[in-house]
């Protein structure tokens, strides 16, 4: 198998890395996330206009760069290295994914809005009692004439404070954890009846609790098939997992490199602590975790477009990435000693991002159970 990147993909990586090097160093990032609004719209504008990367996975007919999962992977890894908080995952990967795969009538216009930098999506799927189960939904959409009335509470909607539109998974029929009876809707964030409670998350990102009270949705709000939206949700979430694994690779590389660098210059007992065999072996174990995470990420992104292979590939990758985020993140702080506990050093910020990624879209245990279910065809 040929794992080399094309010339265009290498150029994409270099362009993104160069922009982030100039505009997204650690001090600038730290300053931006510690005050309102928690992100930089001018950076998003540059992504749209200067770099054109918001069109990365969209066809050229729609105004995009004609790329796919590998282009998303390249962008997300660079974003991980710089701890970028701007909502590429929610908007380009997830919003774009729902629009591309559903045949939604307004898809071309909304994708145009994404590429221009005007339309920003956040995925409102998780609920307080959901426990990573995409079908555990108490948010309801009741049929109302040609449209629906939406009621419910979505928890920890990452990027909702920056979004113009929410993608909402809701129950249109059936029992609270049934696989059937689920539909997907696009809801404008400023629609009547939508309220949000915004807050920062530990990794410098922003999220909201989103409450829907008798929100009126027109017939055109539906994305994908009514009552049978779960397959579409699973497909897009697997794409989001593959992209998140790529972001994790960037974070993991920085955790490892930062630890190597620190231990080489930190002296104790008269010598650099990198000369101690225990720490050398630990950094080798960290390195092995990083390499395995990168390999699993390549595998997931290569297989994510194949509906027969996608789910197992995404869950397998998420297991490895989850374990790597825990091992590499925790050991990075350990090897930095007391300095690792400070807010001034970048290492703690990478560690907190890795800790959030560890359980994003499902913990290690959740994805092991899913992999078992997919392999053996019965509940774990």
């Amino acid at each position: 198998m040929d794992f080399s990147f094309t010339e265009e993909q290498s150029m994409l990586r270099d362009t993104v890395a160069a922009y982030l090097g100039d505009h997204y160093d650690f001090d600038k990032r730290r300053a931006a996330v510690s005050k309102e609004p928690g992100w930089r719209p001018d950076v998003w504008k540059a992504f749209a206009e200067e770099l054109g990367i918001l069109g990365a996975p969209f066809s050229e007919e729609l105004g995009g760069l004609g790329g796919g999962p590998i282009e998303n992977m390249v962008v997300m890894e660079e974003f991980g290295k710089a701890l970028v908080v701007e909502p590429y995952l929610g908007t380009v990967v997830i919003g774009g994914g729902f629009l591309k795969h559903s045949g939604h009538a307004g898809a071309a216009d909304l994708i145009g809005g994404i590429i221009e930098g005007k339309t920003i999506f956040a995925l409102a799927y998780a609920e307080p009692k959901g426990r990573y189960n995409l079908a555990a939904l108490e948010t309801t959409a009741k049929k109302d004439g040609a449209g629906w009335t939406l009621n419910g509470h979505k928890a920890v909607v990452i990027g909702a404070p920056f979004a113009t539109h929410l993608i909402v998974t809701a129950r249109t029929s059936g029992g609270a954890r049934d696989a059937g009876g689920i539909s997907v809707f696009i809801v404008e964030k400023n629609a009547k009846g939508v309220t949000t409670r915004d807050y920062p998350t530990v990794d410098g990102f922003r999220a909201s609790e989103v409450y829907f009270e008798n929100v009126s949705l027109g017939a055109d709000a539906l994305v994908g098939p009514a009552d049978n939206g779960l397959p579409l949700i699973e497909k897009v979430v697997d794409e989001a997992i593959a992209a998140t694994c790529a972001e994790a690779c960037g974070v993991l590389r920085k955790l490892h490199e930062g630890t190597l660098e620190y231990t080489k210059q930190r002296k104790q007992f008269g010598v650099p602590i990198s000369s101690f065999q225990v720490l050398q072996h630990r950094m080798v174990d960290m390195f092995i975790n990083v390499e395995q995470a990168v390999s699993m990420t390549y595998m997931a992104n290569i297989k994510v477009s194949d509906d027969a292979e996608r789910a197992k590939a995404a869950s397998a990758a998420k297991v490895q990435i989850g374990k790597a985020c825990r091992f590499v993140g925790q050991n990075a702080i350990q090897l930095h000693g007391g300095m690792g506990m400070t807010d001034e050093m970048a290492i703690g910020h990478y560690f907190k991002r890795a800790t959030m990624i560890e359980t994003a879209f499902g913990s290690v245990d959740h994805h092991l159970a899913r992999y078992e279910f997919l392999s053996l065809g019965k509940a774990a």
Binding site: S34, K35, E36, G38, P128, A155, V156, R197, Y199, P200, V202, E209, F276, V278, L279, Q330, I333, Q334, G337, G338, G340, M341, K352
Partner: protein
């Protein structure tokens, strides 16, 4: 508006402050003599290595 600290919470009451405790607890294997140093001491003093 100060966004640092634990005065912004979300989720069930029993989870209040847990994230802060989890991250603050990271120090326990470092301070007062790191785990690696403790292993050195045990190797020398207990195992005679």
């Amino acid at each position: 508006r100060d966004l640092s600290g634990s005065n912004l919470t979300v989720g069930p009451d029993y989870a209040d402050g847990l994230a802060g405790e989890m991250f603050n607890g990271r120090k326990t294997s470092i301070y007062g003599g790191s785990n690696e140093i403790q292993r050195n001491i045990i190797a020398k003093m207990v195992l005679g290595l």
